[in-house]
């Protein structure tokens, strides 16, 4: 399978990418040559028609499950959705109704202490509301709601020390 469809998240314009395996690819039916070298697990050097691009990318499992890739190119942040033929077929069968997999667990991004807990179970929160404040690395870090939702369960209390990846709050 070497046919792919990409688009910037939230935008409707679709791009067709066809890798033909010979350091050449078609982008919207136009032919390009390319080379690449993975400089690091999060940095890619791309050379497209002899032009250099340093592409930094994030390794985010949730994103990958939704076929999303977030890049930083020349200090511009771009999130791309990239689908292969199978993904496109699955989409068609589901009639475009397939919901995005929602992230319901809020886990601690680093070891720290819960400084403040702003919600209780059953609370409705809006996107951007501060759910809790985690003190780590001598900084206060606000953990915010990524979408409008309801607080299903709270696993921590104020003053509690938490480890990295510890489950803090479950959203509904």
């Amino acid at each position: 399978m070497s046919n792919y469809q990409t688009n910037i998240t939230g935008q409707t314009e679709l791009n067709g990418v066809f890798l033909n395996g010979n350091n050449e690819f078609l982008f919207n039916d136009k032919n390009y040559t390319y080379e690449y070298k993975i400089l690091d697990k999060s940095i890619l050097l791309l050379r497209i028609n002899d032009k250099n691009y340093i592409v930094e990318y994030e390794l985010n499992e949730d994103e990958r499950e939704n076929n999303e890739f977030t890049f930083n190119i020349d200090s511009h942040k771009i999130t791309m959705v990239c689908k292969n033929e199978l993904d496109i077929l699955v989409d068609k069968i589901a009639g475009g109704k397939k919901d995005k997999k929602q992230k319901n667990d809020i886990v601690s991004p680093m070891p720290g202490v819960i400084l403040k807990l702003n919600v209780k179970e059953g609370d409705e929160v809006k996107k951007g509301d501060v759910i809790l404040v985690l003190e780590a690395m001598k900084m206060e870090n606000e953990i915010k709601a990524i979408r409008d939702c309801k607080i299903k369960k709270i696993n921590v209390e104020e003053k509690k020390s938490v480890n990295k990846n510890e489950l803090l709050v479950i959203l509904e």
């Binding site: 910037i8 390009y32 999060s42 032009k51 390794l59 190119i73 070891p111 915010k144 480890n163």
Partner: protein, 499 residues
């Protein structure tokens, strides 16, 4: 000169001190925690002694252990760097009591100027402007009204026991004074159990401008010009530059002389920084004194041609300053950006992990002070600063262009950084024009910051990149990588905030 010194610090500042000591033919002794066993500074020093466990409270903050190692190694003096024990009077005293020279001011000067109320008293004595207001608790609303009329609105009502913005109210008109004062008192009572409040002039959106001072032990002091440090986020300096665009020769001389009077009045010696806030009419008020070398000292070095660590060592050794105020010549423009391991898109959350890849920038007009190399780890134990990138040019536009070039070329893999944030800040109209204040980032920049549209080239590159990553998904080890970040044990660290 000293034959051997101990550096009671880690990371970039330890490296910085080692470099100058080596240039002066002085041997260096590093101390390292478990975590820092093979860190750059510990490798670089002539000698390296283990001091304790990774948390600072069990290593770099152990004053007695530092003295013991200094004695064992034969170090004659201790350089405290910044942070850790650098502004602890008791450590300076402990050094003195053990016949070891503390490379910094005396215990008395640290404790005296370290206290904000004492420092303010000295400022008044030295005829240095302070923010007008009362420093004693107000007895009545009538008294508050009287003071407010005298200093002029807007005024700030502050709880004596205050902190963290609690018990604080800005009053714009006299009709609001009474009710706002009651509110501040109520808040102060419930938060601190003490409802005494005082009043001072409210300085709206001030700049933070500081002056570097050198004072020897023979009663001589010079100032080395200003540093503009108004680009702050949550009181943390983000970008510093010198000169400040608001400065002319007359204002520089006036503020510099104030700073000198203040340190001479208090008997302060060695390097120090006098901080001021400046209002929109260029009226300045004394803020506080930092009794140590500062993170942003390199921009002053670029502009004066001096090595501040060298001057610190000479002063500590008892030498007289080898120059007078009129010998100090300020040239060009310098900017410092602090590259931190933090996620600028996620509320600047510190980003810990191993630095797998690092491609640095140098070349004409770029200086980098860093204690971190490829393969090193950003841990939870210490500060998240990766590097201080400093640019220097004959004028401000050149220094900005060099900094932009350096930031664009600086690539780090393994942790998230604030590099893109720094770049967009440098490119903001406010920075380009120099018209910014301490509230700019939070009040304006963060709200207006939006992604500019991606170019066609970028979309092409991102499409290909996503296709490459997607097509290699089956046989790649991305998931393994994700799980492979450090799982260091958490430890609570409490030491002074030196930024």
């Amino acid at each position: 000169m000293f034959k051997k010194i101990l550096i009671a610090n880690r990371g970039e500042i330890a490296v910085r001190v080692i470099n100058t000591a080596r240039e002066m033919g002085i041997k260096t002794v590093a101390v390292y925690s478990d975590f820092d066993k093979y860190s750059l500074f510990a490798r670089k020093a002539d000698e390296a002694f283990h001091i304790g466990a990774s948390p600072a409270a069990q290593s770099y903050l152990l004053a007695d252990k530092l003295i013991e190692i200094a004695k064992k190694s034969g170090a004659e003096a201790i350089h405290p760097g910044y942070g850790f024990l650098s502004e602890r009077g008791y450590f300076a005293k402990l050094c003195a009591d053990n016949g070891i020279k503390f490379i910094g001011p005396s215990e008395h000067a640290i404790d005296f100027l370290g206290s904000k109320t004492n420092a303010k008293d000295i400022a008044v004595k030295a005829n240095v402007p302070t923010v007008p207001g009362t420093h004693y608790a107000l007895k009545s609303v009538e008294e508050a009204k009287e003071v407010a009329e005298k200093i002029g609105y807007p005024v700030l009502i502050k709880a004596s026991a205050g902190g963290g913005g609690k018990g604080m109210r800005v009053v714009n008109e006299s009709k609001d004074l009474e009710s706002f004062m009651r509110m501040a008192q109520n808040e102060a009572r419930s938060s601190f159990g003490d409802d005494s409040v005082f009043i001072e002039k409210y300085v709206l959106d001030p700049r933070h401008v500081e002056f570097q001072i050198l004072a020897d032990e023979h009663g001589n002091a010079v100032h080395l010009g200003e540093r503009e440090c108004s680009m702050q986020r949550r009181h943390q300096k983000v970008i510093e530059e010198t000169p400040s665009v608001i400065m002319d020769e007359a204002l520089r001389t006036e503020m510099g002389e104030c700073a000198k009077r203040l340190v001479l009045e208090s008997g302060y010696t060695n390097a120090g920084t006098v901080e001021f806030i400046v209002d929109a009419d260029n009226k300045f008020y004394f803020l506080e004194v930092n009794t140590r070398l500062q993170v942003e000292h390199p921009i002053t070095e670029m502009r004066t041609g001096l090595d501040l660590v060298k001057e610190q060592l000479k002063i500590a050794y008892g030498e007289k300053l080898s120059f007078r105020q009129e010998d100090i010549k300020l040239h060009g423009a310098a900017i410092e950006c602090r590259i931190n391991a933090e996620d600028a898109d996620n509320n600047f959350m510190p980003s810990i992990g191993k630095i797998n890849y690092m491609s640095k920038e140098g070349g004409n007009g770029i200086r980098e002070d860093s204690g971190i190399e490829q393969g090193d780890e950003i841990s939870v134990y210490y500060d998240s600063m990766i590097s201080k990138l400093i640019s220097y040019g004959p004028d401000r536009p050149t220094a900005i262009a060099k900094m932009k070039r350096a930031l664009k070329g600086y690539k780090i893999g393994g942790v998230k950084t604030n590099i893109s944030f720094l770049l967009s800040l440098l490119e903001s109209d406010a920075f380009m024009s120099g018209q910014y204040h301490t509230q700019y980032i939070e009040k304006t920049f963060m709200k207006e910051m939006k992604d500019t549209a991606a170019t066609k080239d970028m979309i092409l590159a991102a499409s290909l990149a996503s296709t490459i990553l997607k097509s290699s998904n089956g046989n790649s080890n991305h998931k393994a990588v994700l799980k492979n970040t450090s799982e260091s044990k958490w430890a609570i660290r409490k030491f002074d905030n030196f930024r």
